[in-house]
Each structure stands twice: as structure tokens, then as C-alpha cells.
Symmetry: C2
Subunit: 337 residues, 2 copies
DNA sequence: TTGTAAGCGTTATCAT
DNA sequence: ATGATAACGCTTACAA
């Protein structure tokens, strides 16, 4: 890696001072046109690019956003795309660190970015994360923080998330409406907020319709197709076999679907199935799976917007919560009326 | 954002010089144990973290890798995971910029990272990219560059990629072996190297078996399910209808599958189908789709390793090419013997 | 064992 | 219209 062209190089070559070069480069009004032209010509020729490190050190800001996410699956990737789009537009650079659902890596990532690399953070915590000291540390240092999707409740920060309860309600209401009576849920890890909220919607709705809740019909398993497949197999083999399953992700719905097919049951006749996320894949399998759209791209964009507002010092941002409404897309896997 | 603790703060508080603090922090041998202890205690208390910006400016290196990728779909996300894993392990920070298959954004991203933010680049070009000046510029500046997956031929740099020709051969050989005679291909954009190589393998194999190549059976379309769906519809409606389709991505295979089902044809009986990437989804649809595994995670790891070697000045890295062998996974969509 | 000073690349302030 | 200087946070000769 060779030395890049600096202002000093230009200054020496032109036999003027670095300050003049700096001014000329930024089109200051008090530089002789002649000088300006010479500087610009040379900087062009030498392909001068300002050193952002030096700028950042001087201004104490990097114009870089640190984005910490637990993985790069469809939903998060879509959200990152949304963040990216808005942030780039606003002149920010985005630094994405993916922690692979590992609490340890999340901490490492946070620490690294905290070393003055970014001005602020946009975070979605990993499913493994139960202790939030590293997140609190960000705030202790008075560094701007926005939480999205997998938010942390007892931290005061702008939060952008889906109305997960409503998603659970929509899915469950629909299944009930279709005549299903014994609705099971494949939920995610127990400490995962988004999962619990979707389950809350499910429980509320059962209650509202005076349907009995069977403890055995509530399964916690990892956000993972394989686990969902096995959990479903057990469900289908149980005494009180459910006649519908609501899974809190599409990946899990696919796993459930495999188990259902294997058992020789038909959807939506024998058993109804509703997933969550509305990933493209759900309309590609047979039968197509009903799923709750969570508008990931929109959530991403709203998150970046909240971040930008916060940075511009907008009042009342500190614990604003933006809640996006989900929408159930009904498909063959659960439509029997 | 408040001022972070600096070495100076510690120096003043302890009434010693900044150099002593710096030395103590780095456990230099010539610092009095007493002083060392005091410095460490205080730095702990004030939660001192070295400012990486200042370090980078000083050392002229950021220990950050700029990763430029065209999108965040399954394959690239998996590769990034591989890069991440190895790079983090080796103490590098990874900065991922996704250009959304846009040539313009790829240039913007490159420019930004070039402003002294990263020590080197790991790049996979967008499908839209036909001009490579921005990539050449990286090298003009003598900044280390590694290309992966979607490589650029006439640029001398370490390249890590799949043996795409072989992938095309494996897929086509298999289809022929299964008795298919009129094999069509859904290829990607015309200027996309990976697509052309897979097609080359396809053409070679047809030739080797003295099968006629029907111009109408070679379709270029965007890397996109919808286009693939439409292209397949046309193929199936054509006079010389193919009895097998090889698509150069699984997304496209899914699109093709939809069109095939819609037409009422059965796989593998009426028509054979082979995809590429071996994404999880292919074993979830019915029939499961045969697909060429490209070992994306391995490619990612190999890429990061090549980068690290290059940085450590290993000789002969400058235009080494690492080629990963693909492997066809045969499933129901193409197995009729 | 510790301090001083210069330097990384840039800009803002204050001269000239 | 231009130059000199200090500063951002840190390390490293060199000096003491």
C-alpha cells in the first residue's frame, strides 16, 4: 500500500502552504482564481482524496453508523438494505457487523466499533443475548443508539419494531375463523422478545374466543428449520393432536410443513399452517403458506430515519417507539372456507 | 456524544506525561511498577479505550477490510459469513458494503472506503458492472485487492471462485445420463462471468455428447425468479420444447418450477430440472430440486485467508487463483432412472 | 524511569 | 490572498 496523495504533497509541488491548498479545494471565496485552478488541476492529476481518518479525528465524527445484527437471513438482510438506502442517501457510511446469533461475538463487535469507529449504533440483539451491559455501555458513553426489530425493553432508546402482538393476533384470528380449534404454536427461544410477543397475541386471541390453551401446544424451539421439523413431528404424534400450527417464522413453517407431509396429512384440510415474515419462499411451496408480512424493508428505512433524526438532535427522540403494523397474507395452507 | 477518555486525561489526572501513560498501558518494560499500576487502575476506572482513528492515522493502517458485494442473498450472505469468521479471528474488522446490483452504488461504495477507511478490498462485482475503472483504481493506488465469486478476468489479483465450468458440466452430464435430450439453459445476464462459465460447461457437454444445441434453448435473463418464470413459460410454449432445464441459480429454478407446474407438466418425468447453489429451499419444494453446491462458506473463508496472506506479504499471491470444485446434489426433479 | 517533541492529514484561527 | 500554528489522540525517537 503506497502513500496516498496528501494536501502537503500538493502544497510542496505548488510551492504554497497547506492551508491555501485546503481552502482552494473547498472553494473558499478568498483564494485567487489562478491558485485555485492550479490546485484543482494538480489534485485531479494526483487523484487526491481527503483522508477521512484525519477529518474524523479532527471533527470527532466519522459519519459512520455501526449496525449490529444477529445474522444475515432474509429478514435482517432486507432490513439492512432499508437502512443502507436511507443512510447512504443522507451521506452516512454503514458498517454492518453480524454476530451469528452469538452473544460473545456481539460483544466483540460492539467493542470494536466503540473504539471511535462510528458515531452511533443501530442494533438488533442476538437471540442468545440475555445480558445487555454492552448495550448499556454504548449509552453510558453517550453514544447515540437506535434499536430495531429485536429490541431490548428496559433500555431507553428510539425503537423501531413490528407490532408483534398484532401479528400473532392476525394469524390466530384467521385460523379460528377458518374453523380450526386446536391451534398449536411453534415459538422461538424463550427469552426472545419478538417471539414472546407473537405468542402473546396468540394467547390473547385464544382467550378471546374462549378456546382452551393446551400447554403441550406451546413449543419453544430454536429459530431453525430442523428443530421445527422435529417439534412438529412430536406434536403430530401427541394424544391431543393440533389441527393447526402457527409458527413464528417462515423457516419454521417450512420445517413444520415437511413433518406434516411426511405424516401424510393434508393442508389445509387436516391441518392449517400459518408462518411469519412472508418470505418469497412461502408462495413457492405447495401448498403456498399463509404468512404475516412484517415489512422488513420499511422497518429498515424507518430505523435509519430515526437514527438521522436523533443525530440532528431532534427533541423527543430519546425513547420514541415506532411500531409497524404487520399484515397477514392468506394462502392455501390455511384457507378452507 | 461525549468526549471519550484519552491518554491525556489520564496523564493530567496522574500528573505524568502522556508518553508514560502510553508506555504503561502497553506494558513497556521501563515503567515503574507503581506508575503502571496507577495508570492501569485509572484507565480501567475511566473505561479508557484507545482511539482507533488516531492509531490508524499514525500507523497508516486501519486493520479494516472493505468488502464490496452486489447483494445480500443466500449465497453472498454465506460467503460474507465465511469472510467474517476468518477475518475476525485474525483481528481484522470487516466493513461490508452492498451495492444492490447497481454499478453506480458499487462505485460510490468503493470511493468511500477508498478514503483511507480500509487497508484493502475484497470485492465481488455487481451483475450490472461492465466497466472496471473503479476496481483498477484500487490497484493504481497500490491497495491490496482480492476478488471472489464474481471475479473480473483482466485484473491481476488473487481470485477465489467456483469452478463454474465444472458446475455446468456436472449438471448437464447428469441430465444427459438421465436420458434427457433437449436440454435448455436459463443463464444470467450476458456479461456475467459466472453465468457464462456455467453455460460454457453446458455447451461443452452437449458437444461432447454430440447433442445439437438449439439457439432457442439458451435464454439469458436477470438473476430473478420472475424473469425465470416468464422465460420458462415461453420455452414450454415453443415449437421445440425442451425436456430438461438447467438454471444457473436456485432462484431461477424455482421460477422455472412454477411455470412447469402451471403448464401441468411433471418433474422429472416430462421435464428435468437442475438448479445451482444448493440453497436450503431446494430440498423443501416438491419435487426437491437437484442443485450444484458451490460451498459458499468455504469460498468466503478461503477469500479471507488469501487476503490475510496477501497482507502479510506472501510472495506469489498477486495473481493466485483458488478454484473450488462444486458438487451436484441429485434430487427428485431430475432423477428418472 | 520519565518527559519532550515531532509527526500522521486535515482545518480553523489568527496573523501577515 | 496567503501563511504559520495549533489541535484532534496517539506513538516513538531522543533527551534528561
Amino acid at each position: 500500500m503506497e502513500k496516498q496523495t496528501t494536501i502537503k504533497d500538493i502544497a510542496i509541488a505548488l510551492n504554497i502552504s497547506t492551508s491555501t491548498v485546503s481552502r482552494a479545494l473547498r472553494d473558499a471565496p478568498d483564494v485567487k482564481a489562478e491558485t485555485k485552478a492550479a490546485v484543482k488541476a494538480l489534485s485531479e492529476k494526483l487523484d487526491y482524496q481527503p483522508n477521512r481518518l484525519a477529518l474524523s479525528l479532527l471533527n470527532r465524527q466519522t459519519n459512520t453508523i455501526g449496525v449490529i445484527i444477529p445474522n444475515l437471513d432474509y429478514v435482517l438482510a432486507t432490513m439492512v438494505k432499508g437502512i443502507d438506502e436511507v443512510a447512504l442517501e443522507a451521506g452516512y457510511t454503514v458498517m454492518v457487523c453480524q454476530s451469528d446469533e452469538s452473544y460473545g461475538r456481539e460483544i466483540v463487535n460492539t467493542k470494536r466499533l466503540l473504539d471511535s469507529l462510528v458515531d452511533g449504533f443501530i442494533v438488533s440483539v442476538s437471540s442468545e443475548t440475555k445480558i445487555f451491559e454492552h448495550i448499556k455501555k454504548i449509552q453510558d458513553k453517550k453514544i447515540p443508539l437506535v434499536l430495531f426489530d429485536r429490541i431490548v425493553n428496559n433500555i431507553a432508546a428510539p425503537k423501531i419494531r413490528l407490532d408483534n402482538i398484532d401479528g400473532g393476533i392476525q394469524a390466530t384470528e384467521h385460523l379460528i375463523e377458518q374453523g380450526y380449534k386446536k391451534i398449536a404454536i411453534l415459538a422461538g427461544p424463550e427469552n426472545l422478545n419478538i417471539s414472546n410477543k407473537r405468542m402473546e397475541g396468540y394467547l390473547q386471541t385464544l382467550k378471546a374466543h374462549s378456546l382452551r390453551t393446551d400447554k403441550g401446544h406451546i413449543i419453544h424451539c430454536d429459530f431453525n428449520q430442523q428443530y421445527a421439523y422435529e417439534a412438529t413431528k412430536e406434536l403430530l404424534a401427541s394424544k391431543n393432536r393440533p389441527d393447526a400450527i402457527f409458527t413464528i417464522s417462515d423457516r419454521m413453517a417450512i420445517g413444520a410443513m415437511l413433518a406434516i407431509k411426511e405424516k401424510g396429512l393434508s393442508m389445509p384440510h387436516d391441518i392449517g399452517l400459518v408462518g411469519f415474515n412472508n418470505e418469497p419462499i412461502v408462495s413457492l411451496v405447495t401448498p403456498a403458506i399463509s404468512s404475516v408480512e412484517m415489512y422488513a424493508f420499511e422497518i429498515g428505512k424507518a430505523t435509519a430515519r430515526a437514527y438521522i433524526e436523533m443525530m440532528s438532535g431532534a427533541a423527543g427522540m430519546s425513547d420514541q417507539e415506532i411500531i409497524i403494523k404487520p399484515k397477514l397474507f392468506i394462502r392455501a395452507s390455511s384457507k378452507r372456507r
